[in-house]
Structure formats: C-alpha cells, structure tokens
Amino acid sequence: MNGNKESSNTKAQSKTDSVPECKKTSHSRRRVLSTVAAGVGATTIAGCLGSSETDEPTDNSPLRVEVYGGIFKEVMDEQLINPFREETGIPVESESGLSASQLSRINAAVNAGETPVDLFAAQPTQYIRGHEMGLWHTHDPSAISSSGDVIPEMMPMTDDSELMAVGAFGVYESLLTNLDVIDDPVTTWKALWDDQYEEQFAVGQAFDNYLIDITAHIFDEFDGQETLETESGITSVLEKVQEVKPQITTWFDGEAEAQEGMQRNDIGAAKYYNDVALVLEEQENSKYDNVVPDEGLLKDHRAWVIPESSPNVEAAQEFLNYSLQPEVQKRITEELYTAPVLERDSMDISDDLYTAVHGPDSMDAIEPNHQMYIDREEWLDSQWRDMVLP
C-alpha cells in the first residue's frame, strides 16, 4: 500500500504510530450485566427463532446498519446490505444518519438500554471516545476474519488485546478544483497558503480536520508527527496554519455544504473527501478536477462499531466478516471509490482504480495523529478558535 508492508501475523497484533494508544477502561460491570443478560436470554424459550428476546435478527427486528446518506447509502445497499441478506438469509436493513458523530445521543440511548442501531461507521476519534465511555462492544480477534489481509491500522485494539472496531472503508482526502472558477487544477496542499487563491478554498471547520497534520508534514521547518507531540510544537504549526485564513471562503461542516458552494461557484477548490471528489469528477468531468496532491493524500478511515446494548452481536459479527471479504471490498471500492481495508495483494482491482482511491504506491499518504485530538481536545479547540477561525 505505502511500500512498507509487514507480515500479516505481526499486523494482526501490532500497533503502528497511527493506531491510537488506548486507555484501559473497565467494563466489568457492563460485562457482568451483559453476561447475565445473555445467559437469561439463552435460556428463555422464544417459541420461534429470532424473537425479540433472543439475539437473532428477525424480519420485524432486523439487523440495523447505519451508513451515511444519499448516494453512499444507495451503493452500500446495493453492494453490501442486500447481498449480505441474500447470501446469509439474515434480515438486515440500512438507515441513513449522522452515524457515530452523535455520541451524546448514542450515550443516552445505551445508558437507557436502547439500541440505536446495531452497527455504526465511526471515525477514529469517535470509536476511541466511544470505547472510553464504554459504548462499544469489543471483539475477540478470532471472531473476526477475512480471507484477505486486513490493514492493521483499520483494526484498532484495546489494551486487553480485543478489537475495539473493525475496518469499514478508507476515507482519504484530496484536492478538488472547480474549473468554472479556477482554470488550472490545484495540485499541492501548499496552495492553501498561496494568496493567488484568496477566498477560493473550502475546508472543514472543526479543529480535527487534519489541517494541522498536513501542515506539520509538508513544511520543512516541522518534523511531521514529532513536532505535534508537544504543545509548543503544535502552537508553532498552528501559527503556520493561521496563514491559510485569507484563502478560505467556506469553513464547512458537512461535505454537501462544500459541494453546494461549488455548484453555486462560490468555491474554487476544496480539501475534500477523495471518494466523493472522484464521484463528482465522474459525473461532471468538465467542471471538477480531483488530484492526488504532490505531498500525498490525507489518510483516514472508518471502522464499524457495535453499541454495547445491541442484542444482535453475533449477526453483526457475521456482517463484519462478510464486509471484509475481498470481493465485497472490491465492489464497494469500485462503486464508492473509498479505499479498501485490505492490503493491495488481497484485492483483484485494477492498478488505475487502486491509485485513484489510495494514491500511488510511490507516495506516502499523510497519516494523522488521532490520539492528539482526544488528549488535547479542549486546548486544541480553544487554540483553533483563537488562532485559525476568523
């Protein structure tokens, strides 16, 4: 993938720098309760398989998978949800929503003993936080398997050597140019600091939009992730990030805002999700141009998490194993342009497609330090608002 391959055995157990350090969290009370509950459930005579009192989904109470809305949901239904139902016979349906970004609501639901859905696709900061709060079910690694090699950082582990979450898809970020506003495609992250693009750019508004990581990586005066290990280092990077302000016209929350702004020609270029950018480029080739920046794509991912209160853990694990199969990952990659969670060698996809979703093998992607955004969240939020946001 990045030319730095390791053996699959060590990957399954190793933690790379980009896999966050996990704090130990006690689940003992929840474990006891869920074990007792599971025991009671197992001995209850349901009358028929799949009643609401057992942990098997039924037609009336199917396995529920929350995915992002719009085209994303349509493709997931076509390539993952429906085939899973047909091949396994397990009732499953997808729901569109804000997924694991709504941790406060999920926390309330789990504490109330409710199950919002059985599976969420979570960002790293979301699955780490959720794990700290005891919201997610953790897996024995032997319960999750694939006939392909799963990229290790997509399978974050807890301190107890259990799986906190299971890789869903890679989400890289690239540079998307609106050719109706800017004639030549923007090809470098450093364009964000170029005053010829004054008030042309759109970037995400939150401090964890990884602009800090990009800045630390692309400028020689910084040492990448090493610089971001201290507050003084982060502050010096933020002082550099400040310089992008004149070039930003939109600080968006959801990607649809940026897309809509480009549609109106209010935005000339965006730091954008590579998968969505590729779809836009495909749909309107004359208007959009998506490039892998000279310095590399920004690398991120989503992983499936199961709320602790879910009664359908086994079925959910079966879903996870299905989603990790190479042919399923291939279908999703081909239709959604998200990066696969399997190593390149496990996948039968074309080189062009792999390069488009992942970037060339010769170029390392920029890997963010997710743990930093959690450990220093309050301080970073203040600094971001003070120094970067207008």
Binding site: K23, Y68, G69, G70, I71, F72, S96, G97, L98, S101, Q102, L103, S104, R105, N107, A108, A109, N111, A112, E114, P116, V117, I128, R129, E132, M133, Q205, A206, D208, T249, T250, W251, D253, G254, E255, A256, E257, Q259, E260, G261, Q263, R264, N265, D266, I374, D375, R376, E377, E378, W379, D381, S382, R385, D386, L389, P390
Partner: protein, 593 residues
C-alpha cells in the same frame, strides 16, 4: 305507593343535585388554585428542574478524551471569562440587536399599512403568504437565501445586468446574509404582533388627528406609535429572544466570525461531549440576556408609560422634536403615504415570496441535487416522499408533536396570563419571570438539559417527551400574546355581562374567551409553527426511535442537497396553510383581523 316512589326519587335527585352543587362549589373554591397551580407545576417540573440540573452540571469536571463525571470545578467558568466565549456572546447580542431593529423598522410600516390601507381580502392573502414563509423549514429557507445571494445568484445577476454594479456584491455567506436570513425568519413574528396591536386602535382616533391638522406621519408618531407601543415592545422582545437563540441561520449563512453562542454550545457537545462547559456557557448567556431584559424593562418604565388617549409620550421633549420635524414634510409627500405604503407592502411581499418560489421550483428538479433554476420538471421527489415510509412517518410525527405542543403551550401560557391578569396575587412579577424563563434558555442547551432529565424520568426517546419539551419551551409565546390580549380587552364588555347577571364561568366562556380567541389561536399557532420547525431540542431528546422532519432534513443535508428536501418543505407548507385557513373559517376566528 306511587307517590312514595316519586317522593323517594325526588329525594334522591335532590341529594344528587346537592352533591353536584357541593362539588361545583369546591371546584369553584379551588378554581383559582387549579388555574394558578397548573402552569406553575408544569413550569417547575419541566423548566426549573432541568435548568437546575444544567446549573449543577456546569460544575462537573470533564477530563480530555473522557466523558464528564460528578464532581466540582469552576474551570469552565474560568475558561469563559478568559475571553474567547465572551466574543461569541458579543457577536450573538450584536446580531440579535441588529435583527430586532431591522425587524421593527421594516415591520412597523408593513403592519400599519396592512392594517389601514388594504382590503380584508388582500390583508388575508398577504398574511397567508407571510405565515407560509414561517412554515418553510428554516434549514431549507436558509438554502434558498444562499441561492438568491450566491455569486452567480439572482440578485447579483440582476444588479450587474441593470448596470448598478460592475460585479457581484452579495455573497452567500457573511454578515449581510446572516442578517437577511434572520430578518426573513423573524420578521413575521414582529409583523403579526405589531399588526395585532395596531388593528385594535380605533381608526376614528386617527381621523380625529388628521382632522385636527396633523399630517399622516405626525399622526403615526403622536397617535399610532404610543398606542401600539406595547405591541412594538413585545415584538422587539420576541425577535430579540428568538434571534439570540438562533442556531441554523448563523451556522449556514455565516462564516465563523458570525458564529453565535448556540453554535459554540452545540459544537462543544457534538464534537467534544463537553456538556459541563456547554452548560456553563448557557448559564452565563442566560444571565446576560436576563440582565439585558431587566435593564430594558427599567428603561421602559423610567421613560414613562403611554395611555390609550396618547397624551403622555415616552419622552415629551423627544416626541415634540419628532413632531416638529415631521411637520416640515411636505403635504405632497404625506398625502401619498397610503400609496407608498401599499407599494412598500408589495415589494416586501415579493421579497418574502422569493425564497418560497425558489424552494417550490427546486422541488420539481429532475436531477439528484437541488438546482436553481431547475433544468426540467419532475414530480419524482413528491412521489418519493409520499411513498417513502421514512418521510411519511417523519411528517406524521412532526405534525402530531406540533399539535400536542400547541395545546400544552397554550394551556400553560393562557392559564398563567389569566392568573396574572385576573387574580390578586402577591408574586405576579415572579410568575411572569417564571413564565418567560423557557424562552431565554437557548434551544440547544434546553435540549441537553432535557436529555439528561428525561433519561431520569424515563420519557427520553418518546414523542410525548418531545411534545412536552416543545410545549413548555414555546409557552411564553402564548403567555405574552394572551397577556397582551387581556391588557387590551375592553373591561366594559365584561362589566356589562357581569351586571346583566353572568356568572364568572359564563362570563369567561361567552365573553372573555371569544374576545381572546385571536390571541389564543395566535399563541397556539406560534407554538405549532415553532414546533414543526424545531430541530435542536427534538434532536437531543427524540432518540433513535423516530425522527421529525427537521431532523431528517438536517441529517440529509449533511451529505446531499436533494430536491426531496424541497419537496417535503412544500408539502409541509401546504398542510399547515390548509389547517390554519380551515380552522380560521370553521371557527370564525377572524385571525386576519
């Protein structure tokens, strides 16, 4: 035997009648307690207690990367005082003040012109269009404003084409656009409130002023404004409160320099789960807003009251100066004021209808993303909504919650207003303060407070939980409107009914309530409309079992601006317009009068 039976039946009947009289006497004795006690208990249970929980939560510690825990710390308040949050408070108040002034300045001539110079039919149709814009979900209305003000948008293209400007001057985000969005959103509230006040002023008083030599502008200044001052003050207060708690408009139309306290609070909860800090922000913000109201109220009383006859003015010198200045305005202009007002009303109607027109046209887009102007015509999105269980359920849930919320809010507001106005109570101002308390708490923090509280009392994730929350939060509208209606009620009518032998109950039922029907219905209507459009509180307490239409829309808008959203908004408007018009005609509420 027969006579014994008859006698015994008579005795039984007499006993029943006596018992009934006794029950009725007991009810009558306790009526006052019931009428006063009902709103107080609901507000204490569902406004004071959650606010208390919020206050306590603001002192809980919240380590980085973890959820908050029970404990005590003042770090959140220290963080607020360190400066950054104060900027957000200043921005919020500035936006609210500017919005209020603009709504009053724009809305007053509208209200006056509509009340005085338009036919009943024109008045009704005009108000229907204005009210319909209120029912346009704020999220989709904001999108329409972005479309209109975009670099390539209609307004810029028109101005460039007319040669007024060499290039685009409007932007789809920024201070001007935020203010535009706020005025679009809250002017109808100001207009309806001021219109209701001006409409009650006898035209003969105005005629008398004109006959005595004052021109139209002097008449407005010396006669209309003083008599409508209470309505104007209420309109200003309403707009200020609503705009200071606004989340969606500054979030979508503003850049970060226009972000308000509600946005900061929401981001703290959503992004970092920093509920204690968000709670501390809310407490500080509420104190600031309350402080402003106390100062304003003191200033209002200090400057003086105005009487029905309009002799005493807010400040005699100030009024006289204004009067003199207006006296110099040529008659050729003042005589044209009615015509100018009609033209002004027409222009504003077009401006108000434009976002509505954008949304309606976009709802017929054939493509998968919203486009204006649409590149074709298709009914697919309406078909999609009417066949999709997701939208049908959301629509049904939103409407049913809104109806229940309207009933709850009107019952709380009306009973409290009646108690304050009619009963001899020692603590009237405290009751009034209790009554408006839900309004001064930003919806986002009300949502978080209710989330914690409803989990404890086991109504989180239920529709009636959302309805109760909405009913309580929007009850101040009914309180203010009904109180105003009671203040403006002609006492002589009730005195006449009483002297003709009507009991208190008969008087209330046959005289007071019918005279108040417009205020009652307006209060219910405000609550209904606000509940339909309300996103943040519903988001925090609805759980995952159901979604209201605003939640579905906001959730969809994050990933895709689909014309489906425009279509559901149009359906929303049609349903609510039909309901209001039908109810107005069926019950002869004369809402437009």
């Amino acid at each position: 035997m027969a006579s014994d039976d008859i006698s015994s039946q008579r005795t039984q009947l007499q006993r029943i009648l006596n018992e009934t009289k006794s029950i009725r006497k007991r009810i009558k004795r306790h009526t006052k307690k019931i009428i006063v006690g009902y709103p107080i208990s609901i507000l204490v249970l569902f406004a004071v207690v959650p606010a208390g929980i919020l206050f306590v939560t603001s002192f809980f510690p919240k380590p980085s990367g973890e959820y908050y825990s029970i404990g005590f710390t003042t770090t959140h308040y220290v963080r607020i005082l360190e400066g950054q949050a104060l900027e957000y408070i200043t921005t919020t108040l500035s936006l609210a003040v500017m919005t209020t002034l603009m709504c009053l300045l724009i809305g007053f001539p509208m209200a006056y012109g509509l009340s005085r110079f338009c036919s009943p039919k024109y008045k009704r149709n005009y108000l229907i269009v204005i009210i319909a814009t209120m029912w346009l979900t704020v999220i989709i209305r904001t999108y329409a404003i972005q479309i209109l003000y975009a670099t390539d948008g209609m307004f810029n293209r028109l101005l460039v084409w007319l040669g007024f400007v060499p290039e685009a001057i409007f932007e789809s985000t920024g201070l001007f656009t935020v203010l535009t969005g706020m005025v679009y959103g809250y002017l109808p509230f100001a207009l309806l409130t001021m219109y209701s006040s001006i409409n009650k002023i006898e035209p003969s008083i105005e005629e008398a002023s004109l006959n005595l030599g004052a021109n139209r502008l002097q008449t407005i200044w010396r006669v209309i404004i003083p008599q409508a001052i209470q309505g104007i003050a209420v309109a200003g207060g309403l707009v200020f409160i609503l705009s200071s708690g606004s989340y969606v408009i500054p979030r979508l139309l503003g850049d970060p320099s226009q972000w308000t306290v509600p946005i900061l609070i929401t981001q703290q909860i959503s992004n970092q789960l920093n509920v204690p800090y968000a709670a501390a922000l809310a407490i500080v913000f509420v104190f600031v807003i309350d402080g402003l109201f106390v100062v304003s109220f003191w200033a209002y009383r200090r400057l003086g009251r105005v009487s029905v006859v309009g002799i005493e003015s807010l400040s005699t010198k100030f009024v006289r100066v204004g009067d003199s200045i207006l006296g110099y305005v040529p008659n050729s202009f003042t005589s044209r004021v009615p015509m100018l007002l009609r033209a002004y009303l027409f222009v504003l109607l077009v401006l108000f209808a434009l976002p509505l027109a954008v949304v309606i046209s976009v709802s017929f887009s054939p493509g998968s993303v919203m486009q204006f102007p649409p590149e074709g015509f298709s009914l697919q999105w309406y078909e999609e909504i009417l066949t999709a269980a997701l939208w049908r359920n959301a629509l049904f849930d939103s409407l049913s919650i809104a109806v229940i919320a309207a009933v709850i809010s009107t019952s709380i507001g009306a009973s409290l207003a009646y108690s304050i106005d009619r009963f001899e109570l020692e603590y009237k101002s405290q009751l009034m303060a209790l009554g408006v308390t839900p309004l001064v708490i930003p919806p986002v923090i009300a949502g978080v407070a209710y989330m914690s509280y409803f989990l404890q009392i086991d109504i989180w994730g239920t529709k009636y939980g959302v309805a109760i929350a909405h009913g309580v939060v929007f009850s101040p509208f009914a309180l203010v409107l009904v109180k105003k209606g009671l203040d403006e009620l002609d006492d002589h009518l009730e005195e006449a009914a009483s002297s003709l032998g009507a009991s208190q109950v008969q008087l209330t039922r046959t005289v007071t309530v019918p005279l108040l029907s417009s205020a009652l219905f307006s209060g219910a209507l405000f609550a209904f409309v606000l509940s339909l459009n309300e996103y943040i509180i519903a988001y925090f307490i609805s759980g995952f079992g159901f979604n209201t239409v605003p939640i579905e829309i906001f959730s969809s808008l994050r990933y895709n601006y689909s014309p489906e959203i425009a279509a559901i908004s149009v359906i929303y408007i049609m349903i609510t317009t039909i309901v209001v018009v039908v109810v107005d005609r069926r019950f002869d509420l004369s809402l437009w009068n």
